[in-house]
């Protein structure tokens, strides 16, 4: 029972991070109708930045703030300068640009900070003894911290979407960009803010997950997370923030239980398992569990 609970805790912690990464993907998809393959690598870059700031003596929370701010800037600038001019051309063009960004940001992080693994400080107490027992299982403080931050972040995003003018305008642009413009919404600025918001959320996902990750901070840290987050976003429905959160948690818990209990897959094929989920969803329920928009199909 205690082992099951610990696996469950692990799953929820990872799932929480997948959830906010998926949220970043959903925010971008709702604003510009593309999946930003580079979201993970942009977050990787800002996470390296946060790590670097801690090496020059700043506390990690300051690094996290800087990562969030840089993530916002990167997202907004990328939308304005690279995505907007080609968005109307075709899917392929935005995908290629995203792949270019993917490669460039990963290599840039490696170029600036080399490819050695960095131990990433945690925002929370992360010692071996920093846990409290729950029904015989250990719940570590840093896991609980991640849960709380993710919860706050999700609440913040939902507040933004549902209770503010800006959020209403974002939803309006996602729903019917032309009518939004005709209502006086500055659609360009809204799209840019959407990408910026996704940049913040993605960056925070990076800063939160790397201290918990077995690989710590290395050039390959974020890619698997992007894969799981894509699976989560598709699972919940690419245009549904609620779906992203539910999908992220579901994938995290499933991953932890499958690697724990299913021997054939155990440990060596976890990404493949997530990818099988992606393919099955695309084939049989392309709108996901909570999605509403008709996805492109023929």
């Amino acid at each position: 029972m205690d082992i099951f609970l610990e696996r469950l805790f692990d799953g929820v912690t990872n799932g929480a991070v997948y959830a906010i990464m998926a949220l970043a993907l959903v925010v971008v998809f709702r604003s510009t109708g593309t999946i930003n393959f580079a979201q993970g690598e942009m977050a990787l870059f800002t996470t390296y930045l946060a790590w670097w700031l801690t090496t020059v003596g700043l506390p990690i929370w300051a690094g996290a703030l800087a990562a969030g701010a840089t993530g916002f800037l990167l997202g907004a600038v990328v939308e304005r300068t690279l995505i907007r001019p080609i968005r109307r051309r075709n899917d392929m063009a935005s995908l290629i640009v995203a792949l270019g960004l993917f490669t460039a940001f990963n290599a840039l992080a490696g170029l600036l900070w080399n490819s050695e693994t960095k131990p990433m400080p945690s925002l929370f107490p992360a010692g071996l003894e920093d846990f409290f027992p729950v029904a015989g299982a250990r719940l570590y403080w840093d896991a609980l911290g991640v849960w709380l931050v993710v919860l706050a972040l999700i609440a913040g995003v939902f507040f933004l979407f549902n209770r503010t003018r800006l959020g209403l305008q974002m939803r309006a642009v996602a729903d019917n960009a032309e009518s939004a413009a005709l209502s006086g919404v500055p659609t360009g600025r809204i799209l840019m803010l959407g990408w910026g918001l996704a940049g913040i959320v993605g960056s925070l996902a990076g800063v939160l997950v790397t201290p918990l990750s077995a690989t710590q901070l290395s050039l390959t840290t974020m890619f698997p997370i992007l894969i799981y987050a894509s699976a989560a976003a598709l699972f919940g429905g690419l245009d549904s923030p609620v779906g992203a959160v539910v999908g992220g948690l579901a994938i995290g818990v499933l991953e932890a239980l499958i690697t724990g209990y299913v021997e054939f897959i155990g440990g060596t094929l976890p990404q493949t398992a997530a990818l099988v989920v992606i393919v099955l969803i695309l084939l049989f329920r392309p709108t996901g569990l909570f999605g509403t928009r008709q996805l492109e199909r023929l």
């Binding site: 209403l168 939803r171 032309e178 009518s179 939004a180 005709l182 006086g184 360009g188």
Partner: protein, 236 residues
Amino acid sequence: MTLLSVQNLTAGYGQARVLHGVDLTIEEGEAVVVLGANGAGKTTTMRALAGLIGFGGRVEFEGSPLAGLRPDAVVARGVSLVPQGRGTFPHLTVLENLHVGAALRRDKRGIKEDIERWCGVFPVLAERTGQAAGTLSGGEQQMLAVARALMSRPRLLLCDEPSLGLAPKIVAELFGILATINREQGVSLLLVEQNAELALALAGRVYLLEVGRVIASGTAAEFREDETVRRAYLGY
């Protein structure tokens, strides 16, 4: 006073030019209708005026040019378009739709008053403020689209074929409301229509568009008398 003056308006899509020099004016408080067959350039005219597509020629609203303005800037100047077909946000509630319509306004109280006013004018909306717009009927959505456009407090309302796809009874109701808005709220109206009979009943003046040019204009009364117009557009 002249509210909108359009001289030699040209516009099109890519290589294909649709408007070859349209001239028209709207006086303050007027209701004007543009008639014409499919492909005459009615919708293109509206989209150009609203800033959705680029155009050539001179377009002045209240004496200053509209050229080069993005749609949201055009709205800020006081021109609001109800586009053809889907002019609402289907996944947002009726109330949210109306709030988006007030995107440029900061006066919370005024916005609230306007929402109450338009819900009074369009009672079907008042009953469904919490409902997603996509679940409304075609006629209700069209009314919502008009109300949404009015939320920006335009001085000039552009309506692109509001009667399209609606039942005759609903169309009559909608046109009645448009006439009231024009008369009582002082909102000038530029209407594009295929339904000439209703449009002539509503409008004071008429422009007839053919292949991207204005080929005739006059008062609604003159048009009703005109034999050729009657035969071509009214069918009797």
